[in-house]
């Protein structure tokens, strides 16, 4: 590990004041230190935000919840309000990592965790995300875990997170504090970026911008499901995951929100998928139409070709469970 300066912040304002271009905030450290040990990330300075008073989950006036950026994944999953009103979020969190990691992993850090692309982790490989302009060894290499939607010439990596997929279906808002003292409220739909020509830039955050909270809107109608498909039954990243929320009224799908993990550089959501469902009676035809809409423009890179049929089947299975008879 390269050495670095270390400072512990005692307020969000102090944290952003201490941050410069070469700084990273450290929360749980479970992703950052992993990458620093491998010298994939080499920040000159760490600002320790782990003691900030941002570890509460509060009720909001309109019925939603405001989650502090430092709330641990385990606490968020176990919160009784989240369990009863946002089951998809609890389920996504519980499907991720291990008991030990969830105790450390923070809400903000989880949103910003970086890809598990093998070549990103291996400093001997070419990787445009790690070293812009060096090339991408994944395109022609082992790309079993890579993206099939929204890829670019420069990068085909996925966002590996589970929690952010549920948050995408729930339409959370990410609240930040900028260096100049301004606060921003960024809908998660606008938070992540596709790789394009700058795969090293993953979100719309400015350097030194701190996530302070994540706001959950009032609980949605209908059933909520998180389904994660992976190489082993526990403690593995998603190959494909689906966060689904839907309600059925008078025999027709009245509302639907579907977000996908393992398919793209960001938690993926496509309005065409939901449009193919709303107003339709739940049926194999409607579910296939939704899958067709999802996979328009999808392409594999060899080892990950299986993700196309897997995404279709997982989506259909989730839609069956969301709209099937309550028994």
């Amino acid at each position: 590990m390269k050495t670095f300066d270390y400072a512990r912040a005692d307020s969000p304002e102090a944290a952003v004041a201490a941050a410069d271009e070469e700084t990273r905030f450290i929360a749980g450290g479970t992703n950052l230190l992993d990458l620093m040990k491998l010298q994939v990330m080499t920040p000159a300075k760490l600002v320790d935000i782990s003691r900030l008073d941002l570890n509460r989950i509060e009720d909001m006036d309109e019925g939603g919840l405001r989650i502090g950026a430092l709330v641990a994944n385990s606490d968020l999953a176990a919160d009784t309000r989240v369990r009863s009103r946002y089951a998809v979020l609890s389920r996504a969190l519980l499907a991720g990592a291990s008991g030990q990691l969830r105790n450390k992993a923070s809400t903000g850090g989880n949103l910003l965790q970086r890809t598990r692309c093998y070549y990103f982790y291996d400093t001997a490989s070419r990787c445009n995300k790690r070293e812009p302009g060096s090339g991408c060894d994944a395109r022609e290499g082992f790309n079993r875990i890579h993206a099939v939607l929204g890829t670019s010439e420069q990068c085909i990596a996925t966002h590996p997170g589970d929690m952010p997929v549920a948050m995408r279906a729930l339409d959370v808002v990410i609240v930040t504090l900028k260096k100049d003292g301004d606060r921003r409220r960024i809908p998660i739909a606008d938070f992540y970026r596709l790789p394009g020509d700058t795969p090293q830039i993953e979100t719309v955050l400015y350097p030194g911008e701190l996530i302070t909270h994540v706001e959950l809107p009032p609980a949605p109608r209908g059933r909520q499901i998180y389904r994660k498909v992976r190489d082993r039954a526990s403690y593995a990243f998603a190959l494909v995951s689906v966060a689904g929320i839907a309600s059925v009224e008078d025999g027709r799908i009245a509302s639907a929100a579907l977000a996908f993990g393992g398919l793209a550089h960001m938690p993926w959501r496509d309005p065409a998928v939901e449009a193919a469902l709303i107003g339709q009676p739940p049926s194999t035809e409607a579910f296939n139409a939704a899958a067709d809409a999802l996979l328009t423009g999808a392409r594999g890179f060899g080892h990950n070709d299986f993700k196309l049929p897997l995404a279709r089947r997982t989506l259909i299975a989730v839609l069956r469970d969301l709209t099937g008879d309550a028994s």
């Binding site: 320790d48 385990s74 999953a77 609890s90 519980l94 291990s98 990691l101 450390k104």
Partner: protein
């Protein structure tokens, strides 16, 4: 820097990069916690910090100066094994023993999590009491890898203690 480990205060002057695991093993002579992967994947380094199990390899010592840190040495020693340690012996829940300190620290905190009613990925419902059956124990302990695959006996040992405490 000052650290409280197993109720004892230790002073150590360490490089800023030192992980909590390396602090204990290399600087304080507490070698019970093991280094397996050093990347949070195997669980051999599990310690209990402020009552919670964490991977001590993926955190910096400097971040834990005000914390209450417990390692396997703090749970019991050869002359005074705690119930989980004894159950691991009775059930032959290890072969080479390298993962065992991490397994025991992890299980200790895991049983508390279940008592608090925390659900898991395999829990049918998100509410209600948690019953630590084999599936629940396996899922909740998935962050602790055993290269010898002593899993059936590890699960038996943990279940015995969980049931006795229930």
């Amino acid at each position: 820097m000052q650290f409280t480990i197993n109720g004892q205060v230790h002073e150590a002057d360490v490089d800023i990069r030192t992980s909590l695991l390396d602090l204990a093993r290399e600087h304080l002579g507490l070698t019970g916690s093991k280094k397996g992967c050093d990347h949070g994947q195997c669980g051999a380094c599990t310690m209990i910090v402020n009552g919670r199990r964490i991977n001590s390899c993926l955190t910096l010592a400097v971040m834990h100066q005000d914390d209450d840190i417990v390692t396997i040495e703090g749970l019991g020693g050869p002359d005074a094994l705690n119930p989980l340690q004894r159950a691991f012996v009775t059930h032959d829940a290890f072969q080479c023993g390298y993962c065992t300190p991490g397994q025991i620290c992890s299980a200790t905190a895991m049983i508390e999590e279940a008592r608090m009613g925390w659900p898991s990925h395999v829990s049918e419902r998100l509410d209600g009491d948690v019953i630590l059956d084999n599936d629940e124990i396996s899922e909740r302990m998935s962050g602790n890898i055993c290269r010898c695959a002593a899993y059936p006996n590890i699960v038996d040992a943990i279940r015995e203690v969980a049931e006795a405490g229930a």
